[in-house]
Amino acid sequence: MNIVVCVKYVPDAQSDRTFNEDNTTDRDNVDGLLSELDEYAVEAALKIVEAGEGEVTVVTVGPDQAADAVKKALQMGADKAVHVSDDAIHGSDAVATSLVLAEAIKKIGSPDLVLTGLASTDGTMSVVPAMLAERLGLPQVTQVSTLEVEGGTVKGRRDGDVASESLEAQLPALVSVTDQINEPRYPSFKGIMAAKKKPVETWSLADLGVDAGQVGLDAAWTKVESFAARPPREQGEIVTDEGDGGTKLAEFLVAQKFV
């Protein structure tokens, strides 16, 4: 069983995220990390391989620093990594990101399973997995909170607003997992040491045969026209409960016409 896991390098949500002058996300002046939601996908892949056999390859499309994100996945136990990095990719939208990822996955080989997270923690669109499935012609078993792989079939449960759905597809398939699926492991000391020796290949667009004109800011099908920091919320009134906190809360709600 060969599994490819797509992992994204993102600005840390705990630090001040902002934009560059060209309206792209600032990825240089902020700490970056492996998108937390992709750890669930890495964990799911490791579990499947540990229960049988196979190999886990992680792939990321991102700037030089994205190598750090990949390292975390290797420390968790993934076998090898591919880092697609090329200046021309700067400012790519989800459509172009999915194109580069699809070509990288094809070059890695024909995996039995492509795994992704639910959403990145920066763009948070939750669309790259479906775009990848469309491009690779794979069935999509997406946003699942359970996952079983057995005898060439993948099964999972998708919890929607109105219903829970049981999904099933033949391998090869594309699967995205939610944060309900497992508890991602912390890298062990052994894992951290072992990761240092694991292969990381760095590919350019030329290595993938992708024309630079198909990606990047100028080729994006969506354009961020402007950005503005949300005005800080004016600090509201804060009262300490001295036996009348509930009454004061109700008074506020009445004054604001919620009652």
Binding site: A13, Q14, T18, F19, L37, A94, S98, L118, A119, T121, T124, M125, S126, V127, A130, M131, A133, L138, P139, Q140, V141, D159, G160, D161, V162, A163, S164, E165, S166, L167, E168, A173, T178, D179, A220, W221, T222, K223, E225, S226, F227, A228, R230, Q235, G236, E237, I238, V239, T240, D241, D244, G245, G246, T247, L249, A250, F252, L253, V254, F258
Partner: protein, 318 residues
């Protein structure tokens, strides 16, 4: 004027409020046409007409329901080819976002998700998004194809405008390739009798501070006619269903009033509620980050504050 397609959100022909909102937006961009997937279009038609749908494209094909996402994308592609719309609007649900993603690739069109406003602009439809956990507002346009935009609930007040809602059946042959992911069982969620979280005007949420007892949260919510939400800590503890989780990996809510009880205000929680119009918090810890966001906060124990507030609200009403 060019058509603007609106994917109808409905259960057995009962049209949801988000559809009325999207038709209202569509009227500012062009001539609204509804896209109805299912077999109950007659039940839905009066409401679609009331909110201005000139046409209703109907896709009545069981394959669209029995397989995940890919057939819906093919169906939408067929309508887009027929209508050459100026834009395609869909309610921002996980299912619709994925269908929109595939449609974007199929029709070579740009995609914007989770819009909180859509306006007509010089460069076509301009969408506003709230990003980075609500700390930035960005405006974007689409440079290729017909803009495909998924829109959050509650972003405009629905306004009525009677139209014909002429039914246009669309024959869709779902390809074998799109039948790769089969839905083998469907279990309906239990109804709480409360408003739906993402559509509610008021949301009252409980966190780890409830210690597992949501009754003061529920009672307060019911006096306000509110939906009940929960933090991930409360959900992970099994105190409330995952479908009630508010935040980055739960529901994104934007109600008129959001009440957080026993919730600290972690960035991932804020990502799901920061755009609420008015925010209220009850927390024992005066240092809790949630207080940075509030319009009104009570430093106190939710088990005394909420019941007292419930009584006071009832009294104010009578």
């Amino acid at each position: 004027m060019a058509e603007v397609l609106v994917l109808v959100d409905h259960t057995a022909g009962q049209v949801k409020k988000t559809t009325a909102e999207l038709l209202t937006i569509a009227r500012t961009l062009g001539t609204p046409s509804a896209v109805f997937v299912g077999s109950d279009v007659e039940a839905a038609r009066p409401r679609l007409a009331q909110f201005g749908a000139e046409k209703v494209y109907v896709i009545d094909n069981a394959d669209v329901d029995n397989y995940l996402v890919a057939p819906l994308a093919e169906a939408l592609q067929a309508v887009v080819q027929q209508a050459s719309p100026a834009a395609v609007l869909l309610p921002s649900t996980p299912h619709n976002k994925e269908a929109a993603a595939r449609l974007a690739i199929k029709t070579e069109s740009g995609l914007i998700t989770d819009a909180v406003a859509v306006e007509a602009g010089d460069a076509g439809a301009t969408a506003t998004q709230s990003v980075f956990a609500g700390s930035y507002t960005v405006k974007s346009t689409v440079t290729k194809g017909a803009p495909i935009i998924t829109v959050k609930p509650n972003v405009v007040p629905p306004s009525a405008s009677q139209a014909g809602a002429t039914v246009v059946p669309v024959d869709v042959q779902v390809s074998d390739a799109a039948k790769g992911a089969k839905i083998t069982a469907r279990e309906e969620k239990q109804k709480s009798g409360r408003p739906e979280l993402t559509e509610a005007a008021i949301v009252v949420s409980g966190g780890r501070g409830t210690g597992g007892d949501f009754s003061p949260v529920e009672t307060f919510a019911d006096t306000l006619g509110a939906a009940v939400g929960a933090s991930r800590a409360a959900v992970d503890a099994g105190w409330y269903p995952h479908s009630s989780q508010v935040g980055q990996t739960g529901k994104q809510v934007s109600p008129q009033l959001y009440v957080a009880a026993g919730i600290s205000g972690a960035i991932q929680h804020r990502a799901g509620m920061q755009t609420s119009k008015t925010i209220v918090a009850i927390n024992k810890d005066e240092e809790a980050p949630i207080f940075e966001l509030v319009d009104f906060g009570v430093v106190g124990d939710l088990f005394t504050v909420l019941p007292q507030a419930t009584d006071a609200v009832k009294q104010a009403r009578s």
